[in-house]
């Protein structure tokens, strides 16, 4: 896939924003898992700017910024990279109507479950911790945030994004 300069810039900025926000708000940590009030940024970024931009921004932000800054880089890296990529990628593909909060909530919540599956799957594959414990923890930390905050954030931002001509579904047509 060939990226346009605008997409590259949005990935860079999204990664910094997501990574930094995750790191700044990781007040509560349970083992490898932190409660992430900033998790919605991944979904919102994908819904607004497209699946690849959202996915890559979330993956880079989580693995190469948040994990590096917190000193966890490399441990859950693969699972975290793929899981967070999915959290930015899937809602963008699945949300057809950006004004429908039901769609946004549903698919953002679903993407949190997929993310949890990859993180817990990788960790349990490495035999670091039991699958269900991690799966439940990641789901509990990401689903409420994604379900509540993503529609609010998208509602606030969509107008500004559309005015700038950056909304991905309109930009590509």
């Amino acid at each position: 896939m060939r990226f346009k300069p605008t997409q590259i810039a949005l990935v860079i900025i999204g990664a910094v924003l997501y990574g930094l926000a995750c790191f700044a708000t990781m007040g509560i940590a349970i083992g490898f898992i932190t409660l992430r009030p900033a998790a919605f940024i991944a979904c919102a970024w994908g819904i607004l700017f497209g699946p690849w931009v959202g996915g890559l921004a979330a993956a880079i932000g989580n693995t190469f910024i948040s994990d590096v800054l917190s000193g966890w880089f490399g441990i859950g890296g693969v699972g975290g990279f793929v899981g967070n990529f999915m959290m930015g990628f899937l809602p963008a593909l699945l949300v057809k109507n950006v004004r429908s909060w039901k769609q946004i909530s549903l698919w953002s919540g679903f993407s949190a479950v997929v993310c949890a599956f990859f993180i817990a799957g990788w960790m349990s594959l490495m035999k670091f911790a039991p699958f269900w414990v991690l799966f439940a923890t990641v789901c509990a930390s990401n689903i409420p945030v994604n379900v509540i905050c993503t529609p609010i954030a998208v509602k606030y931002l969509i107008g500004r994004v559309q005015k700038r001509g950056l909304y991905w579904r309109e930009a590509e047509t």
Partner: protein
């Protein structure tokens, strides 16, 4: 946030280990990450952890490294050590037996071994981060991918650039947070749902500012004809020296030690 600045500054320290090729250090880290996959024998993992702690001396990062580890260990390892005894079904020396909940001495031993296994990865990763400038790593990786594998430098560029913008964003985030706090916005009060909701208005101005920034970056890239030439040139060339080979060799020897220790059940560990 101060810890982030400290971490980034630590990676810029001048020491024999900081001077090594970033790719050599990445290979060394790869070796360390492999170890918890190979074994969780504490008679193997403990000496490896001790060796990494000792490496902090020539790297001149003793104080920040040890302080960071002492903060990280209880959070990361504590969880594993607490959880595993409940899931360990084998073992004959019963300590607690409540029907469904069954904790054995072997279970606790197993949990401690699992904790040490995590400690190897955590210690190695933190050491790597504190002795490697991530921008150097991304740049060296980009050069290697382009020259050897003919892979585009777009992804390494994304990594390098995101690290370049980190301090600027930290300042913006802090300014917005302070602005909210001075208006009496209580971020830390209320139930979980309420607190999560409160974070949204905090991020909206930040996201809005960042979208502006993205447009500026995009314009700058287009003005500089980004992507016109297939191959880019690199400002810094990272040479591979004897010390780099030796450092990678140390990593390989550590892996060999782990394989051997696991095969011979070093220390009689057979869980």
């Amino acid at each position: 946030m101060a810890s982030v600045i400290q971490m980034m500054e630590t990676a810029k320290t001048v020491s024999p280990i900081h001077k090594l090729n970033p790719l050599a250090k990445a290979l060394w880290l790869l070796c360390i990450i492999i170890i918890p996959i190979i074994t969780f024998n504490p008679f193997v993992t403990l000496p490896i952890i001790a060796a990494i702690w000792l490496l902090a001396i020539p790297a001149k990062i003793r104080k920040p490294f040890y302080a960071n580890l002492l903060k990280t260990y209880p959070v990361l390892i504590g969880f594993i050590v607490i959880i595993w005894p409940f899931f360990y079904k084998e073992g004959t020396h019963l300590l607690v037996n409540l029907g469904v909940v069954r904790i054995t001495l072997e279970g606790i031993y197993f949990a401690l071994a699992q904790g040490l296994r995590i400690a190897v990865a955590v210690t190695g990763c933190l050491f790597f981060i504190m002795v490697t400038d991530i921008m150097d790593l991304a740049s060296a990786l980009g050069a290697m991918l382009q020259r050897r594998l003919k892979i585009s430098y777009t992804i390494p560029l994304m990594l390098v650039s995101s690290f370049k913008f980190l301090p600027e964003f930290m300042t913006s985030f802090d300014a917005i947070r302070q602005a909210f706090l001075t208006r009496g916005f209580e971020l830390d009060k209320g139930g979980l749902g309420e607190r999560i909701k409160k974070f949204v208005p905090l991020f909206i101005p930040l996201i809005d500012t960042t979208i502006n920034k993205a447009q500026h970056i995009s314009t700058a890239m287009q003005l500089k004809a980004f992507g016109i030439k297939k191959e880019r040139v690199f400002f810094v060339e990272y040479k591979v020296r004897l010390a780099d080979y030796l450092f990678v060799l140390v990593g390989i020897l550590i892996v060999a030690f782990a394989i051997w220790g696991d095969a011979v059940l070093l220390g009689g560990f057979n869980l």
